[in-house]
């Protein structure tokens, strides 16, 4: 029976000022129950101030393979980093 329940991914905001972070998954009949179960399962010790649940099937993910050209465009653009630029030592606040 519970095999038919959808899988939900759970994201928890640890405290105000932080992003929600993925902590795991659970199965539940609907989003409301997923939220309640996530509270009992993933925040038994004040680990969170806010929870998101998302049906796993609704997540679109990139391929995890490092060799995948998906991330290649950012690999060769060193000029996007501040360390690419040489500024004399005596220039302040830079």
């Amino acid at each position: 029976m519970e095999g038919n329940w959808p899988l939900y991914e759970v994201f928890v905001r640890g405290k105000r000022g932080l992003n929600h972070v993925h902590v795991g998954s659970l199965r539940a009949p609907d989003a409301e129950m997923a939220l309640r179960n996530a509270r009992d399962l993933y925040t038994r010790r004040n680990e969170g101030v806010s929870i998101w649940v998302v049906k796993s099937e609704d997540i679109t993910a990139s391929s995890p393979d490092e060799k995948d050209p998906f991330f290649a465009p950012s690999g060769d653009k060193v000029y996007r980093h501040p360390t690419f630029y040489e500024i004399p030592e005596n220039v302040p606040h830079m």
């Binding site: 029976m1 998954s25 399962l41 038994r44 995890p64 393979d65």
Partner: protein, 314 residues
């Protein structure tokens, strides 16, 4: 082997070699996947079955404080089981299928939970020795090569520390009590010491999975290494508690820098694992009954969800 599979295999092996984690959608050898599912499922089942021996004392806890602690601990075990089922699902395992395999006896759980909890001192000794042994086993698994498993273990280890400390504190309280209470502790330690050492599994020479699991960095230490570490950690704790461990051969070996300990009765471990322990049938029966008794709740929740989904569409 085609060039493509050779390349993906090399990528997999290089990732492990560099101590990076394998993540769910990565390519992995089928045997790596199967080994992980077996190990994680067995681990999850152990947490779930592990609720029973201690759960039996919730209604009989001697104070409200002990009852609240025990409730929280048993709830944690349920949580640990669920973290692990969640990790197993990232490998393509199905949760209800795993529950079915536990109930039908197709998959195993830790032999330790097939021993009965005869007195309340057992609750303390389980926290101290059984959870202590579990921590020894689990801390290195926080660096396991499979990401979701390692992350679940980090969570679990954080919570286990409370389990061990509440057990030790319970025993310290009993040791400060009457002679009868000290006798309860002694009796419980005598019954749980050897089964706790067996928790690390068969000796390295007989362990079928160890070599491959070490190569894949699923496991980081052998069974015997972890067992020795546990003994070395526990002896001073027993001394501080003022209780003797039931092993006449237990003594410090200056040369090795470790404690020597007596021969473990491996036939007992084999017997208990293969189903002939004191409580095997009872544990599985209880799990099966809980699953079946909960069927109407699952059905009602599904019906409720379906009704609301229809309303939203309308």
């Amino acid at each position: 082997m085609t060039q493509d599979t050779a390349e993906t295999l090399e990528h997999f092996e290089r990732t492990i070699e560099r101590d990076q984690r394998i993540e769910p959608r990565d390519w992995m050898p089928e045997k790596y996947r199967a080994t992980l599912i077996r190990q994680i499922a067995q681990h999850a089942h152990s947490e779930i079955i592990g609720m029973q021996p201690e759960g039996a004392w919730i209604t009989r806890a001697p104070s409200l404080r002990r009852k609240a602690i025990l409730l929280a601990k048993v709830q944690d075990e349920a949580g640990h089981g669920l973290y692990l089922y969640s990790a197993a699902e990232t490998l393509g395992a199905d949760r209800s299928d795993l529950t079915g395999k536990l109930i039908s006896g197709k998959q195993k759980y830790s032999s330790i939970f097939n021993y009965p909890t005869l007195t309340f001192a057992d609750v303390g000794v389980i926290g101290w020795l059984v959870d202590g042994a579990a921590i020894c086993n689990q801390v290195p698994l926080c660096r396991s090569s499979y990401g979701p498993y390692a992350r679940a273990m980090i969570r679990i280890c954080k919570e286990e520390s409370f389990h061990q400390r509440q057990g030790y504190e319970l025993l310290m309280t009993l040791m400060r009590g009457t002679d009868a209470q000290r006798e309860m502790v002694r009796d419980a330690v005598n019954r749980w010491w050897w089964p706790s050492l067996m928790m690390f599994g068969p000796p390295d020479a007989d362990s079928t999975h160890t070599a491959q699991s070490m190569a894949w960095k699923i496991k980081r230490h052998t069974n015997d290494e972890l067992r020795q570490r546990f003994v070395d950690m526990t002896v001073p704790q027993a001394e501080a508690l003022g209780v003797a461990l039931p092993d006449p051969d237990l003594r410090w070996n200056e040369e090795r820098g470790h404690y020597d300990f007596g021969e473990i009765d491996w036939s007992e471990l084999k017997r208990v694992i293969s189903g002939d322990g004191p409580c095997n049938a009872e544990r599985i029966e209880r799990r099966r009954k809980a699953h079946e008794d909960g069927a109407w709740v699952r059905e009602a929740a599904a019906a409720h969800a379906a009704k609301h989904a229809r309303k939203e569409v309308a």
